[in-house]
Symmetry: C2
Subunit: 686 residues, 2 copies
């Protein structure tokens, strides 16, 4: 098959370019250059190839499209509008305005038809790799003879900026390793970045680099106007077997503008007279803004109808699949609706105080072993720390090309390699596909390497779960380069993210229940390398409240509040205080964010006014003012030594805490002050 462009195709492309320029000019903010350069590619891609149903943007078997150079989103919004997604002309006029459907960069769970959040460079293409993994896995898991229920491609447009980012290289190298031939990367090769010509910083041989990471390569030498070449390349890419494809599309940034080919079209609106000359030259009325010619409308209505038809055909297929493979059908529907299997939580282990002390990373392994069978949507993995993170359940099968004999496409354990940032971004893509719950392991300290993608997960409302082991100075000998002191603060400060630091087995089980139930929130589970005792008073139910009382005392002079590995130390400090005749309470707060969501009355019971509250955590004390009046922690980098020696050296011991608590009690007694609980204070002004 080939493609002979008609006059209306040319007009459609001119219309897209004009609309993109109008959108940006009307907002007086945004990026017209890439949209104008990419309009032909976008038109051919959507009108000829992209299998989607604009009337149902969540159709399961759609092709996925990711605009990795998210700053070019004027293009994407224009396309969504023309195709008939829920993006109106009025929405286009509200580009980059308060609470509009068309924000400055594409946001998932915000605008109809946007699969993933992009804009922070490199994220989108890595998310596309995640989508491709999910698609491949779903197809292998659910397709049956005569029932190719899952058959789609993942398309992503990337610019030079994306390709310079490390996260993109990491993800693409893994895509090549995994031989994801359902992935088509469209490289907008326009030689321009914000600083000017790519000659100033990006002169590598991109094509050779992609060859070295096992990509199939195709070229479109004139992406500005050679529609047939664009068509042929995409058509060929869709036939590729065994490798993902890079199509290098040579374009001119700001094509059609008087400043075409220069960085000045990248990030500023075109001048009115420049837009006018473009429209005039292309047979559009220079005085009309946001104008779509009738025949262009018609063209896209046909595209819309064709999508709806494809969807309808697929629905028939899926209905007969329901008859032939009722269980699989039910499973797909369940996972698509993000419903968890009835009673799955019962598989989670619980512990009694006389059970053995166990490292919380090991407790996490036990959970994964118990739930991996019950939750087939769980897809595990680690950034090359499997044996340390303990993220792999016993009978896990690796997700690998079967030809490698190292795994199967149905495999649910991903060997991410030493690629933390890509892992995090790929997990976003896995979630976005709609059928998986990704968990990924690394040391807590190296969640920071991927924080750019963690942030995207939180903003996108994506359920991804980080198994972040070796969570503090308890990591021991590896030393301060590997001991996170400040990481918790950055994660706790992030909106819509659950940072869990469980203290024992029941809290680990609770953390997993919460993380898996929180469909719109990513979770980071900070887990210990060292053994932790099972606590009297901890239960899954308690953990699920985010914070709770472990030791109560109506006559307490002080409340100690701690997390994770320090809860048991605080418990021992309470005993030491009792020896001194000081009555103390003990509170565990495994998750700030979940605790904050509890009713105020409950929170006030846990952390009441009237006596001082002292926190204990082997992290920076930064942020503890939320809950405690005085804070005990580690405000320096850690040390390289056996864990017990570091704890002692840095004063994270029951003796030190008891001594400080006694001093705090005395201080408040002397001052004659009955302090207000920070919880109560915060609530007073919400």
């Amino acid at each position: 098959m080939t493609f002979t462009p008609s006059a209306v195709d040319e007009k459609a492309i001119a219309t897209i370019r004009a609309l993109a320029a109008d959108v940006v000019a009307n907002a007086n903010s945004g990026h017209p250059g890439a949209p104008m350069g990419l309009a032909p590619l976008a038109h051919v891609l959507w009108s000829q190839f992209l299998s989607c149903d604009p009337n149902d943007s969540r159709w399961l078997n759609r092709d996925r499209f990711v605009l990795s150079n998210g700053h070019a989103c004027a293009l994407q919004y224009v396309m969504l509008h023309l195709l008939g997604y829920k993006v109106s002309l009025e929405d286009l006029k509200q580009f980059r305005q308060l609470d509009s459907r068309t924000p400055g960069h594409p946001e998932a769970n915000h605008t109809d038809g946007i699969e993933v959040t992009t804009g922070p460079l490199g994220q989108g293409v890595a998310e596309a790799v995640g989508l491709a993994i999910a698609q491949r896995n779903a197809a292998a898991t659910f397709n049956k003879d005569g029932f190719e229920v899952f058959k789609s491609h993942i398309y992503t447009i990337v610019g030079d900026g994306c390709l310079q980012e490390g996260v993109a290289y990491e993800a693409l190298s893994l895509a090549g390793h995994l031989a994801l031939d359902n992935l088509i990367v469209l490289y907008d090769d326009n030689h321009i970045t914000i600083d000017g010509d790519t000659a100033v910083s990006f002169t590598e041989d991109v094509v050779a680099r992609f060859e070295s990471i096992n990509f199939n390569i195709l070229h479109v030498d004139n992406g500005d106007s050679d529609l047939a070449a664009i068509y042929d390349a995409i058509e060929k890419a869709r036939q590729s077997t065994g490798k993902p494809t890079l199509i290098r599309v040579r374009t001119t940034i700001g094509y059609g503008s008087l400043k075409a080919g220069t960085a000045s079209t990248h990030g500023s609106p075109l001048k009115p007279e420049d837009i006018a000359q473009f429209k005039e030259k292309n047979g559009l009325d220079p005085n009309e803004k946001f104008f779509v010619p009738e025949d262009v409308r018609e063209l896209y209505k046909k595209v819309n109808a064709a999508g709806a038809e494809r969807h309808a055909e697929w629905t028939k297929l899926f209905e007969s699949y329901a008859s032939a493979h009722a269980d699989d059908h039910a499973e797909i529907v369940r996972r698509y609706e993000r419903r968890l299997p009835e009673g799955w939580e019962k598989s989670l282990p619980t512990y009694k105080p006389d059970d053995a002390a166990v490292a919380s990373r090991k407790l996490s392994e036990t959970v994964l072993k118990k739930i991996s069978g019950v939750l087939p949507e769980l897809v595990g993995g680690s950034a090359d720390l499997t044996g340390s993170n303990l993220t792999r359940w016993t009978d896990a099968v690796d997700f690998q090309p079967p030809a490698t004999k190292l795994g199967e496409w149905t495999g649910r354990y991903i060997r991410y390699g030493v690629r933390e940032h890509a892992m995090a971004a790929i997990m976003n893509g896995l979630h976005a596909f709609g059928l998986h719950i990704p968990t990924g392991g690394t040391f807590l300290n190296f969640v920071s390497y991927g924080i750019g993608a963690v942030r995207v997960a939180a903003l996108s409302k994506f359920r991804v779960i980080f198994v972040a082991t070796h969570d503090s100075i308890g990591l021991g000998e590896d030393g301060p380069t590997h001991q996170p002191i400040e990481t918790a603060a950055s994660l706790r400060a992030m909106p819509n993210l659950h940072f869990w630091r469980p203290a024992d087995g029941n809290e680990v089980s609770g953390a997993y229940i919460s993380a898996i139930r929180s469909v719109e929130t990513p979770s980071v589970l900070a887990l210990s390398r060292q053994n932790l005792p099972q606590l009297e008073g901890s239960t899954i139910e308690n953990a699920l409240r985010g914070g709770y009382v472990l030791i109560d005392n109506d006559e307490a002079a002080i409340t100690l509040v701690a997390t994770g590995s320090e809860v048991a130390i605080a418990r021992d400090a309470v005993a030491k205080l009792a020896d001194k005749g000081i009555k103390a309470r003990l509170v565990s707060i495994p998750c700030f964010e979940v605790f904050d969501a509890q009713p105020l009355e409950y929170r006030k019971q846990v952390l009441p006014s009237g006596h001082p509250i002292l926190s204990l955590e082997a992290y920076s004390t930064f942020g503890w003012g939320k809950y405690s009046h005085v804070h005990h922690g580690v405000n320096t980098f850690g040390k390289s030594a056996p864990a017990a020696a570091i704890y002692k050296d840095l004063g994270i011991t029951d003796e030190a805490v008891a001594a400080k608590a006694a001093a705090v009690v005395e201080y408040y007694n002397k001052a004659g002050v009955k302090p207000i609980s920070p919880v109560e204070l915060e609530a007073a002004f919400e």
Copy 2:
């Protein structure tokens, strides 16, 4: 020239392997595999090539060595010991013990002979790129006819783990672009990572990838024992012109162990019997530990003496350089001693309240323009946001290969490309070379992409300066994907890092003075996109205290404390409160960390007990408990809209703050509580 290894070379290599195994076994923790695999390479490199003086590890013209796979540091410590650095046998026995010289991963400013901190994978090789840039720049700037004062190479050993990391790709792509032929990357190609064979995740053609990024490639097919091949490759790499070199050295992890070639030698001590068999097989006493044969000692003494001699010869050269080029000599010495030019601060601009409102990124540009001439050690740059970060001074010359005609080796402005993580790590290398003060620009939101390297800077005590513009919701239309809400918390929680958020011109000048004077501390300057008025009461001296009183009032019922763009809003709120008859004070805290270092008496004056303190900042309120009782901020992601609309929508306005302040005053009056200042409380238990 070529190299014919003698029996003592073989013995030296066996000794290095045995020592490394002993070091790890004695600590019962660490990584023996890579050291045993790399011993031949290390021996040839140090004994035949590496130009250094172990008696003076800071010798200016030394070759730099970076162990990017820092977990292999048992090797590096053994080598430093044999060469005669300040690492004793006793230090080797204290490997990974509390406060030893030999921590779990190499730390700069901690162990003699360690140039940069490594261990977090990918950091070291990126730092090596920074060292290579600095070396090339210093040579171009200071070498004269007949005086090749700067002539050295940068060697770095990398493993598969480093090469999988995005930060390494980013930095190496830039190194290829910059044609840094003083950089020699020694790739430990052992096919093993923690998860097992590289076949599970890392199957790209590494050599082809390096060719694609403009590297010269050499091979050593038997790095386990072919010393002549190692020698020849390094010798050839040193002759390379116009490109950095990758030497692929095929090695066997844990060579000599019974488990050689397997992941099990990677991160766990060898068994005693395994070490014994190795020693026996290699002519060493199996019962001796930490043993160095006399002839091996002698060999390394000669290496030490040769290094001292080379240093002495260079010193003669440098003395005659002093006569011939007195000014340049003085300049080198000044920069080497990290002394700033007398009176340089006088070049900094100051502002009066009636000066125009200016964006703090623009104020920063003015500072850079003023000081770039006075501080020739300043090396600027941006991760492809030059025009937005405003990081380039008017007459700046780019650091580029002269053949590109885009700049000069003497250039002091680096086009980092869209490579934030590499930029941060390269800045660490620039600092470590010893003659430069690097500044690098990106949006504050994308400092997070490089946080792994920022952390290394803080831990290493490196003076690097981030020009982090577009610092909050004031960024406006680009939207929540680009608006940092949580980033400040992560940076403020990090030990030894100065996070500045200046409120006006004088505070910007103060921030720069502090950042440049803080030789052992990295700084992040968070700067606004939008205009900020010049404040009554702000001065450079005040800013240098980190926090100070802008509006005082002996009868105040409340203190407002704010930073950056919100200080002026808080000032207007004070006026609004006055209208309501409520007396209020105003405090600006541009830098928490610097403020915390002030005497307690001063801090208590600024934030006194006795009335409530309310904070205002357009970030997450997480962490403000340090200074305020009630906090007003942005605990959600931002929005895409013009900045003023977002401020209003999120309630960051003088009206909202005045209303909240009035409510706070009323609350405390009703409660009859005179609250203790958090500053006083914290100090009471330090």
